[in-house]
Symmetry: D2
């Protein structure tokens, strides 16, 4: 059993609280938020939970084992360090921190103290992403050639960061999970081009990530698109996956389609007799389990037993490094930034 | 009435021949091709048309007014120059030539001789693209913010060029027609990132084009994608278009969706109070006319009366310049190339 | 302000309770259910609400103004009569009663006592159905020709009734609202064909309803279909609506499509020169308001001021009469039953 | 090698002629049509084919082995009998004849003379329908429970028959092929309800067919629908097929979805513990072969070797009997007509 305190009860906080409240291994002791109307909601739903406006009440409470930090990214470092120094395990909203350096220091602190530090990369716990990981890991797709994702909609502009920091973490995390953690393929460079139509922050960006062995990943993130689109292609040389995360039916489809090359002429580097093969399409039934429930269980296990997690702080650091590099590239008009 | 000779009867040639054959203002006098089995097909369908393997028969025939050149791109310059020098009007398959320099010389030759030189950018004659041009021209969309296109499928690998030269001309031409010719907005730079999984030629590329005033265009072209996708967004600050060219119904949709900004803080360059508005969706009925018929009529009028065309050689030169720049950027790992 | 007691806290009850709890004009005083675990849920969420297993506690409580009856249909008559006789307004789950006779007696009782008796035909309060009613009422569609609906999925088999009584009330109610209440067109006869693959109750049925002036309605309801489908066509002789209630985008589309008849030959009754016209498609933006909120407000107004409702008991009686007739037709192999 | 004469070169005739012209085993000797402009088209495309306005030229030509009759249905009987009596094999446009009696007499005549008489039920030669037949025949679907088809669009009104005779033959033929020919299940009764909005002929009809053992089939045919829909469900108790014939991708999908019944209580005839199971979805790759090519080959084999065909005259007779019964039911307001 872990006792949890939650700092921040905004858009995502209620989902986290609900999941821990329903977990047999956890108990929500505290929720703090600066807004009284948010605390009133907590009180109405969870009468036995302490509420307040001062997060120090959580950090200094010796009965609290773990702290959930669901506040704006600019506060992650300070709150996270305080919680870790108080000996608490930490669940951090994504991204882990506002800079690579801060992220690395949080990781160090947690490692040194033997505490769990997990980042809320919810997507890696979704049945769809786990299915894609299974397909990749099992070799069914063959060699992975590219990852292409479109993650666009008419979206809420965030006051303190741009669309890159808002939406790209999802794809970077999925790539890390499906490609790097599964295949050992490492991201080597990043480039990004974007534009800002309404003030300082980019609301549209194209991010390219180069992995080992020519594997290319590309992500289109956009807050000003008329139709919500969440479409990801993971292409292997044997089969290809298309994941449409907005589709109410058959979100993951596996295509038995590929390119057959009879041989490549060594001298000219020409591919000769390239043929394509279009085959059956298969849509696996996905487990209906809520991703956040799986993540809460994983976090509880990490706190209690030190069990590993696919969204631990080392992943969080890698993601922030890629975001930092992408931002640098954005600022340099698309220059390639080595990782 | 124009008398037409056609050099090359491959994949696209039969469509061109059929359209000219059905045009009251035109007559097909000749078709040449190196392959006897292709000529047999011409003979079976058009018994009064001369066939042969030597294109010089066409170029030297004084009764021929215009020559259609539907051969591989590497032959465009030589055949085009020969035809123009023989005083023939020319219809050239896209792209106009293999290099910017060759394209410019063809344009000069045609201009000096007062001959029509038109490039077969069929898309600008489609009802969908013409409707989008009308919507852009009429100001209904507001200021144009970006153009985003995905043009991918499991495609035939071309032996002598890459996916950039195969598919990107379509989008570059549509941009030129809808944005540059209509709004006077000029393309300023190009960058491109791509990869080649099967031999020398890139089969996947992401091309970004920067226009005046921050207008950004981005195109994903790909021969190794499991699902044929042809989806273009033209986003204005009042309305946005989504064109799905694979959809059997309602291919063009106009979204009354936009972002409202109360004001932008001058000091901080922050957009304050950004709101989004999601409204009705309207799908205009499109004229069912075949694009190639419209293009053949336009070409006949250009030959007979010097009537203007939205796909004349000056457009063709601009497109080849963009392709050249994109290729250069591909070769330089995505470096921005000024136009 | 009305004080509400709720009998039955099963699948739908929590939604009703939540909506009344959030309504300024209402207060939930009581919830009863036979299952202790359901009552525990009420207690956890609504600490100030009385809970119990005996619905008589609600009916005899003089502070209660209105009773919500969300129990199986076989109990509707007895519970409804008890509540009305105790002077309470009643919100009844659909259908109003298990037979036409019971439904009529409930209506009489409510009328005689001047009490509100409303049936939970939630669909008539949805933005989509209200938009379709507006389009029909405004004459924009022209004369209505037919209503066709497919309402099928892999569905929960109900233990005490068949698919007709489970799903067809939705369509019968929408027809009543959009056609009968709006245009004054009356349903005249019903026929139904169905089959039962798993025991006594039909799990598949086709229901046809004949209205005045040749207007035909047809509904396919089915618990054994692989894909959830909720598609309704309302066809007028000027425009037609297609409503896809499973679509996450543009659920209501209005087609400017129609058939043009030059004239009909009087002698032969032949239509001569029938042409069809296919035009623009328009998808109106729908209000995002939850239907149950609108219905709770309408019910409160009916209790407090006697305000009218499009789902009052007279509608409820008409729907049960049609269900009775359809069941009779099912039992007689599709014989036409006059209403 | 068979020598073929074609009577009627209207909407469908050119496709038939093209397929026979490209078949190594066949030669088109004659095409007749009453309209000179249609004959001009034949001449332009097939210079060695005789053309004329008198079909007797074909029937009396001793070199002709087989006659294709692609004329309005009211002429089928007379032309078919004349051709058979002249010793010609016959390919008849669907439906075989205007009445069951005429259809039966044509069948008798062909049988007595040992001539092939095939009906152009093209659908049974499509890769989609053949795949569905394979799935049904192999038992993969389990016991078939129902067939449901929606075949609607904004359609050309036919001058001399109604929507039942125009569109329903497609579904009746597919049912005959997939269910009756494959499983031995026989159609036992038909009922139909329809309406006519524009003159004498029904433009909308719902047809129900009862087969052995409770298997029910239902077809919605309609000339006044805003969206072209061609969706067929074939539901078995193990798997179900959905065939969307308008979809450019994955037209046939096989759902591993079903209803599990633990047991049915014998006394009450209640199904107890009905559960549903929703599983993977599989879309088989379909052969791209043109159906008419397969049918022309089958016809040639039937003429030359007496090879069997799934669309022979006995099938044609069954289809016309069902159409006759459905028409009778339409005229009797939906009364069930035994076959």
């Amino acid at each position: 059993m872990i006792t949890v305190g939650v700092i921040g009860y905004g858009y995502w906080g209620p989902n986290i609280v609900r999941n821990f409240a329903e977990l047999p291994d956890a108990r929500i002791a505290w929720v703090t938020d600066l807004r009284p109307e948010r605390l009133a909601q907590v009180r109405a739903r969870y009468s036995s939970t302490n509420v307040g406006t001062d997060h120090n009440d959580i950090i200094t409470d010796p009965s609290v084992d773990a702290v959930v930090i669901a506040t704006p990214v600019r506060t992650h470092f300070e709150l996270g360090m305080a919680a870790l120094r108080a000996g608490k395990h930490v669940w951090m909203e994504k991204p882990l921190a506002a800079t690579s350096e801060e992220a690395a220091r949080l990781l160090d602190e947690a490692d040194r103290r033997g505490l769990a530090l997990m980042v809320d990369h919810t997507f890696v716990f979704t049945p769809a992403v786990q299915k894609m990981r299974d397909l990749t890991r099992g070799g069914e797709l063959g060699d992975i050639q590219y990852y292409d994702s479109v993650r666009i909609n008419l979206g809420l502009f965030q006051p303190d960061f741009n669309v890159l920091w808002d939406l790209a973490p999802h794809d970077l995390t999925i790539m890390d999970f499906v490609l790097s953690q599964t295949l050992g393929t490492r991201a080597r460079w990043v480039s990004a081009i974007g534009t800002s139509h309404y003030g300082r922050h980019e609301n549209l960006a194209y991010v390219t990530v180069g992995f080992d062995e020519g594997l290319l990943a590309h992500v289109h993130v956009n807050w000003v698109a008329p139709v919500k689109t969440r479409r990801t292609i993971i292409a292997g040389d044997k089969k290809m996956i298309v994941w449409d995360d907005t589709s109410p039916v058959e979100p993951v489809k596996v295509y038995e389609s590929s390119v057959d090359v009879e041989h490549i002429d060594k001298e000219s580097a020409y591919a000769l007799n390239v043929q394509y093969r279009s085959g059956d399409v298969h849509s696996p039934k996905l487990d209906g389990k809520e991703a956040l429930t799986t993540m809460a269980q994983t976090f509880a296990a990490a706190c209690l037993d030190g069990a590993p997690s696919p969204s631990d702080a080392s992943v969080g650091v890698r993601i922030v490094r890629m975001l930092d590099a992408a931002q640098k590239s954005l600022d340099q008009h698309g220059a390639r930034i080595e990782l």
